[in-house]
Point group: C2
Chain length 400, copies 2
């Protein structure tokens, strides 16, 4: 299993394009990717009560259980809270792509990210879709990855190659989402393609498991935007024997999907709005998986932990406090806390440690915080970033 260059066009038979159609002032704002042959697809969606039109339309299209040919995504406008017009617009986007590609609208999915509550300028979208379809090409992944960004500061792609049933399989993805300091409101979009052949229900299960350990570990339960979406398309062109049961091949596929989603999730955390550091929170020694995850996410979501990391202040009390209010149950008197490999607390209270060394650890671009609950064998990892002046700056005038 090895990393290769590229993103959503790394796997065989996938083409993509990205271009500027005038939703943003200058930067690319429309992305399209398609599979030469119909692909098996699965999706995970926001649990927010308020669901954007593209979420509803994509769910409906997946509900037909047919194969998928293409996904169209715009940035700068979320098409959320836009009423019936919003639904009609999202449908129109899929219909137009379908007509150009010669398939049915149900074979096309749609995603949007950006400002909430403003109807899409459909003339621009129509002209844009007309123009983007001829641009689809097997090297277009990077261009598409650029077009889905909002406040992100870099494109986020990852791809791998691995063996399945004697065949070389590729899998790659792209993602966006940068308001991850408080993950709840950042629209997180992620798209993964693979040339593996896999049964749809197993693809869905694999995506659910991978998401729980990756994208959901940079996000707090219920705290999801109106537009969050993770899609995976598998077109079978690697010609591996189709994965139809939970056998060894399925395990390999799951491992690859977890690795791709984990890398993409880390890229989101690293590019958190205003972030200067990637922060990895590991919990171990938990009595069960739920406790491990709940504690890790609670620490990763604490504004005060994140400002302390920004300030390079070894304020471990905030870490323990965030574990304590997570809602998970554990024995406080057994807790050990580490910054990097430097122990700063044990038995639930502080110990003498070198403040200088702690400051040096917190001053690195990647900071690891680990919490050992010493009550079992379960572990979990969450990712976040520091909370900085620039987070406030970016979000105080997002619409302007």
């Amino acid at each position: 299993m090895q990393k290769i260059a590229g993103g959503i066009t790394a796997a065989r038979g996938f083409e993509a394009a990205g271009m500027h159609i005038g939703l943003k002032k200058v930067k690319p704002d429309l992305a399209l990717f398609a599979s030469e042959v119909p692909a098996t697809a699965a999706g995970m969606f926001t649990t927010n009560l308020v669901q954007a039109a593209p979420i509803k339309v994509t769910k409906e299209h997946l509900a037909h259980k047919g194969k998928i040919r293409a996904v169209v995504v715009n940035s700068a406008n979320a098409n959320a809270c836009t009423g019936e017009q919003g639904m009609a617009d999202a449908e129109a986007m899929t219909a137009q792509v379908a007509q150009k590609l010669g398939c049915s609208a149900e074979e096309v999915l749609v995603g949007s990210t950006g400002v909430i509550g403003v109807n899409l300028p459909m003339e621009k979208l129509e002209r844009g879709i007309e123009a983007i379809v001829p641009k689809l090409n097997p090297q277009g992944g990077g261009s598409a990855a650029e077009a889905i960004l909002t406040t992100d500061t870099f494109t986020k792609e990852y791809a791998m190659e691995f063996q399945l049933g004697g065949k070389t399989v590729r899998m790659g993805g792209m993602t966006k989402g940068s308001g991850m300091i408080h993950p709840n409101m950042a629209t997180m979009l992620a798209f993964i393609t693979t040339d593996a052949a896999i049964d749809r229900s197993l693809l869905e299960r694999a995506l659910g498991e991978a998401t729980a350990q990756s994208f959901n570990m940079i996000s707090v339960d219920r705290d999801t935007s109106t537009n969050d979406m993770v899609l995976v398309l598998a077109n079978g062109l690697a010609e591996n024997p189709e994965i139809k049961e939970e056998d060894a091949d399925y395990q390999v596929f799951c491992q690859a999907l977890f690795e791709v989603t984990r890398q993409l999730a880390k890229l989101i955390a690293r590019d958190g709005e205003g972030a200067t550091k990637l922060v990895e929170i590991q919990t171990r020694g938990a009595a069960n998986l739920d406790t491990a995850r709940t504690v890790a996410r609670s620490i990763a979501s604490s504004n005060l932990v994140k400002t302390a990391v920004f300030g390079e202040d070894a304020n471990w009390g905030r870490i323990l406090c965030a574990a304590g209010y997570s809602g998970a149950s554990f024995d406080v008197e057994k807790v050990e806390i580490f910054l990097g490999d430097l122990k700063v607390a044990e038995q639930g209270r502080g110990i003498d440690f070198s403040e200088e060394r702690a400051k040096a650890i917190l001053g690195q671009e990647e900071v690891k915080i680990s919490v050992d609950l010493n009550s079992g064998s379960f572990q979990a990892t969450a990712w976040t970033c520091d909370l900085t002046f620039d987070y406030v700056k970016i979000n105080a005038s997002y619409r302007s």
Copy 2:
């Protein structure tokens, strides 16, 4: 029912003092208040799994069901995550106050706020308690209010006078807590005194109800610090007939207690770390009380709503989004949103409104956001503040 000057010494028979004993560099850091006669007392405490030593000791003392004579509070050190030594220190503080006042240690309660994980410098505390007891005086409320502050920028007191059973009753309180932008980690301390005569179990019930509508509406469930504490002492010196059942007098008492706690809670929100604005979130038209409160608190806790208020950006989509991920159930298509009295969204989507007027409303020092769910008759109010550059500045180096 009318506002009067003062705080915890507004009611008859209460004395207080505050002084500097060297926990902070310059500012007052030790507060003490006492009732001439033993007082009925009730308390509400943090639900954090990690509980500071003063929380444990105060709970134990209240569990004796006896009356209470005094409360001693230090700032600058939370005495949390400090092990057995921390427990012994908190006990020693109550014992020393008791010895000086000539009562038992169980009649004294203790609170602390400040840095977590550092043992108290007990020599300073001992000398401090020795020195502060003679300073107790009936005008000492303001001085005590000053000594409990941490990053607060002003003292927080409120007092009222009202009639009970033909007698004039007074009630006053003080509070601290300024890290309320994300309320979870801010230690919120609140102390209320009254000369009303009231049965203990009714006092407990009244405090629970008042707290649910006041302090808990600037705080999210489970997201409480290791040291949060609300105490009320009622010494009966007003000589009203003791309130022993849920009669009209009890209702008046509850109303007064709600008013005092509400005013104190608003002061905390107004003084949120780095805040420039007090933000009031009202939900109405909810199908039940829980929905009204959950939605109000979710909006009040959203970093993105609060940065938008700071930036005076009428980004109502963030308000609706925060309502949507609150976990409460409601019909999105019926939601109306108002900034002040300016409607900015209806039927769950945006309408045309004057951006200029919205900006003017968001530019005021007190901003009201209301959300009408149009699904029932329940309402709730939550308070928060804007999220600013200074929040990050304050919290990036709290320990330094």
